[in-house]
Every structure is written in structure tokens, then in C-alpha cells.
Symmetry: C2
Subunit: 334 residues, 2 copies
């Protein structure tokens, strides 16, 4: 018999399909990944090709070597641009719309064309996180910015065609309905219980222990009780902060290590799967709220969303987090 579990952060249900369940190893998808060069002449993200990108908004450089380690700039094909107005207009007095006001940046994670983030050392991952943090705090001051979405797409099925390792940051002029809904759930929980839902969630995962992947002084990593997808992984801070923009230098340093290990475990355990990750953080105006806790969510792209999910909003997950988490926990990567 299957089991239906509720995601406490949204109230949505997930079907854990036992009849269709697979073992952790069954999710290894051996993909023909071409051997990549360390430098590609035609790649706009490779060193030496900086003129192929819009103006730099950030770079961390080794003064001696004269080369950059991490570099950010506006996306050449931006989803949003910092022009126009957020005034709503109407079509036929019924359909609402506005200009595509916002900021869309690319953060190149390493000069090496062929080095996935999982294989970068701790200090390199820390550079990437510091770049996220710095750009977050610069853009959150712009008056039209309501929420900043930081994410990474790795692999074709995760929505990227550019091989050179990079992340993206989109500052948007609205708080999405989806985000408001999650915050309403968290606010209600806080008003009822006087505790942060996300801290309690991480605490309960720690106390059962069976879905924990790793733990450090500052972070807990687990496959959630109601994982929507196989190997969905959450990295949740132990300190209480609604906004990623409030993370301290020490936290970013610890997160860099945790993120690298988790990505390396995925890389080795599932043989370099396609994945997305996203930093869930409070809207800019809610950065000081007590009811929310920023976290990083990794979604390996191991199964396809199909008609049932599109129609119901309910995912059918064919892996149990109680099986995938120990698989990851016990995998030695160092």
C-alpha cells in the first residue's frame, strides 16, 4: 500500500508510491556526458572572453595571477530588465499586466569550463556563496525589488544548455502567490505555536534522525518527510534568519563545506545527475520576520513531472526519503 504524506510547509500532499518504489541505486542515470575542455574559445563564460558578456557587476580576483575566481554580470538574454514601470495595466478591464521590471544576473562559479561545482574545493564554493550574498544585498536595496531568487540549473533536463558552471539571480518586482502561500502557512504556525515552522521541521528531522544526510555546527541536511521528488535535499541553518541576506561570513563558510559535500555525494552516488537548487528566502520586506527561515533546496531531476502532478499539484514520489537519506549519509566522498 502507498502512503500519502503532508508537506508541513505548504499543506500539500505527496504520494509515496510503494508499489512503484525504486531502490536508491535505481536512480543512477548513466548519461553520455561529453569530455569537456578546461577552456573553450567560443564560451562567453571562459576567461579571456569577458568582452562577450555585459558589464561585470562583481568579481573576485587573485591579484597576483591577475585572473578572476568568480564573476557576475547581467544575463545577455534577461527575463527581466531594470527599466519600465511596475504600474499595473489592464487588458479589457480583466487581465492584469506590467512591465518586466527586474534584474537578471549570471554568476560564473569558476574559470574552468569543465569543473562542476561538486568538484570545486571549499574555498571556491565559498566564493560563489559570497557572490550570491553580495549581489543579494546590493539588489535588495533597489526600490522595485520584492524578492530575489538565487538558483542553479545543472544539465539539459534541469533547463540549461550552457555547460560552463554558473548560477543565476533574478530580482523580481512582485511577491509570487506561491511564496505568499508558504509564508501564510509559516505565519499561522508561528502565531499558533510561537515557534518557527522551519526550525521545528529541522528539529523533528534531527530527532527522528532517519532522514538526515549530514549535520554540522550550523546546518542540518535532510531528505524531507514529504519529499516531492526522489533525493530532494534541504540544507537548513540552525541559526534563525528569515533572509539569506542576513547570513554571516562564518555561516557562508560552513555552508560552502556542506553544499560541496552534498553536491559531491550526489555527483558520486548518482553519477553526476542533472539538478536544480534554489535558495528559498523571505521577500525583501519580510527579512526580519520571525516565522520564516531561509534554506537551500536541491532537486535532482531524476523523474518527469506528468499529467497527474500538473492537474493535482500532488507529486508521486517513487523513492522513500528513509531509504535515500541513509544511502547519501553513508556514501564516503572524502
Amino acid at each position: 500500500m502507498s502512503e500519502i504524506r503532508q508537506d508541513p510547509t505548504t499543506g500539500e500532499w505527496v504520494i509515496m508510491a510503494r508499489e512503484r518504489a525504486k531502490r536508491p541505486r535505481d536512480f543512477v542515470r548513466r548519461q553520455a556526458r561529453p569530455e569537456l575542455p578546461v577552456f573553450l574559445l567560443s564560451c562567453p563564460f571562459c576567461p579571456g572572453n569577458e568582452a562577450m558578456t555585459p558589464a561585470e557587476t562583481l568579481s573576485y580576483r587573485d591579484e597576483k595571477a591577475g585572473s578572476w575566481r568568480v564573476r557576475a554580470f547581467a544575463n545577455r538574454f534577461p527575463a527581466l530588465t531594470p527599466e519600465g514601470s511596475t504600474m499595473r495595466s489592464e487588458e479589457k478591464g480583466f487581465f492584469l499586466n506590467m512591465d518586466g521590471v527586474g534584474v537578471h544576473e549570471v554568476i560564473v562559479e569558476t574559470p574552468a569550463h569543465n569543473k562542476p561545482l561538486a568538484l570545486v574545493e571549499d574555498a571556491g564554493v565559498e566564493d560563489v556563496l559570497r557572490a550570491y550574498h553580495e549581489r543579494y544585498n546590493a539588489l535588495s536595496r533597489m526600490s522595485f525589488v520584492k524578492l530575489i531568487v538565487i538558483f542553479k540549473n545543472h544539465g539539459l533536463s534541469a533547463g540549461t544548455s550552457l555547460e560552463h558552471p554558473h548560477s543565476q539571480l533574478v530580482a523580481i518586482p512582485v511577491v509570487p502567490r506561491h511564496v505568499r502561500m508558504e509564508h501564510e502557512v509559516a505565519m499561522r504556525y508561528y502565531d499558533d505555536r510561537g515557534e518557527c515552522l522551519y526550525s521545528d521541521l529541522a528539529g523533528h528531522e534531527l530527532s527522528t534522525g532517519k532522514r538526515i544526510v549530514m549535520e554540522t555546527g550550523r546546518f542540518v541536511v535532510f531528505h524531507p518527510f514529504a519529499s516531492h521528488q526522489p533525493f530532494e535535499t534541504w540544507i537548513v541553518p540552525k541559526m534563525h534568519q528569515a533572509s539569506f541576506g542576513s547570513a554571516s561570513a562564518e555561516e557562508l563558510q560552513d555552508l560552502a563545506h556542506v553544499l560541496r559535500i552534498v553536491l559531491l555525494k550526489l555527483y558520486r552516488g548518482l553519477e553526476n545527475p542533472d539538478f536544480n537548487y534554489v535558495i528559498d528566502t523571505a521577500p525583501v520586506a519580510d527579512e526580519n520576520e520571525d516565522y520564516y527561515l531561509w534554506h537551500l533546496r536541491i532537486i535532482p531531476r531524476l523523474t518527469e513531472v506528468a499529467g497527474f502532478e500538473i492537474g493535482s499539484g500532488i507529486n508521486i514520489n517513487t523513492a522513500l526519503p528513509e531509504e535515500t537519506a541513509p544511502f547519501m549519509r553513508e556514501l564516503e566522498v572524502e
Copy 2:
């Protein structure tokens, strides 16, 4: 500059990415589809292999020929089964779960292994819709059934690996949060304006006309103002009914023709793309509500959902419905 549009049925926004916009023809993905036989000895959905499936729940037969035209049965690897209890239990007094109670059926659309629904004649599509309708009305009487999701997955990227044309029906024991949220929006609109949001939506699309694909006496087909994906297509009835279960024989007959033409336009215009469709219908307990209107939604799988969509719930659409709808409208398929 891009444009941000609001989906009036959810309040969610969609980014219409003009800088990345493609022409309708750019979405043609020529896929190497293997030549399929009309009958496959190993296919459990092919005639003669009925013993390979669980017991039949419905079939329409030609008495003379002795063969079936459409056939339904329980899914061999069901996400949910009609056993267990919907009583919630708790893990650690925090995580809610219940047994996977429900019904999961397969509806085989045609005896021919190699005939996609787009190439079936009107009468054959009508058989399929009648089968949906009959199974909907049989299962909606079961006490634990709260919502019935009818859907079709076509192609690998749409989540199916079985080539033989088939649809699925899942009867679930909860109303998903996602569905409640849409109904709340529709209820509020109804309470405010005294009209059905979905009827008004179809009416506004008809009055602007530019996103209409086709219209019959009983249905309107359009690419919505805030399409979440390229070529997203809605088929909306002109009669007012919250539930697909209330559709009349005449409506099913008209819908069969409309659905066939729309699928054929996709098949010819985009060269047999992968797609999902789903029938959005009211929860069983809300079948007689005035504020909702059932409809059929087709989502061609032409782009990948990436980190931004996962993080924000906001889609970036690279096609304008004002361009894709005329492309489909003007395509002659008969």
C-alpha cells in the same frame, strides 16, 4: 522589455520573456520517433493481451467484430489502491500521513498500438471521452473519493514510457491544496461579481479574439493571456458546469471533435510533440457550485522547468500566446 502577466485563476504571475521570445515554428522539435507496429506481442495494452492487465472496469465493443474499441482497468503499478484508511496518523506529533487510499485506472484509447489520439477519428475520441465520463461517475460515488484527476501523458518527456495510446484516472482521498487555492480565487470572484471567473475568462478571450484557436457551439479553445508554457491550450465549455461528470452526451460529442482537431493541429504544427493534458474539474463535494467551470488543459512539453520556476512558482514563457494562437488557428488540418 519583457512583460509580466497575471493568471486570473490563481493570482500567480508569468514572465513573458520578449528578449528570449521565439517564433511559433522555433518550437518544432524533430524527434526520432521509432516506426511502431499496429500490434506488439509484448504490449499489455494490445488486443489479445488482455490477460496481462488487471480486471476490466469498462470496455466498449463492436459486437460483430468481437473486439473492443476502448478499455479500462486498474493500473498494474497503482499510485493508490482502494484499501486502508483515510484516518490521519502522525509521526512525532508533527508530520501528518495516511494510507494511500484511492483508485488508479488506465484507459486504453484504441486497439492500434501505433495510433496517437490525434489520428483517431471523431467517434473514437468520443469513445475515450465517454469512458472518462463513465468511470468518473462510477468512482465519484465511492465514499473516500474527494477529487478525480483525468489525464494523459504523451511521450517520454511528458512522463510516459508506454507507447500504446492511453489515459489515466486517479481518484484521490484529499482535495489538494493547489485545487483549494484555485477554488478560493474563483469563489471570491463569484462572491464579488456574481459571475463565474472561468466563464468570464473565456468570454474576455472571445471578445479580444487574438488568442482564440477555435470555437464551436459548445466550446472555446484559446492560448490563455497568462500562458505558463508555450502553446498551453485551454478548452473551455460554454455551458456552466463545475464538474466534468455533469457533461451531457452532446457536449462529449462536440468535445471529441474539438479535442481531435486541437491535438491534430499540435501533431502537424509542432511535429508530434510530447504533451500532457488534464481535465480540471471540481472536487466531488463541490460539483454543484456556481463558481467553478470544468475545462481541459493541454500542456505541450516544449521547454524545461528550471530553478527559477522551482523557487518562485513563476514561469518564464518564451512564446507569446498572441503569436502561437494564430499559428494554430490558421493551420489547416482537414
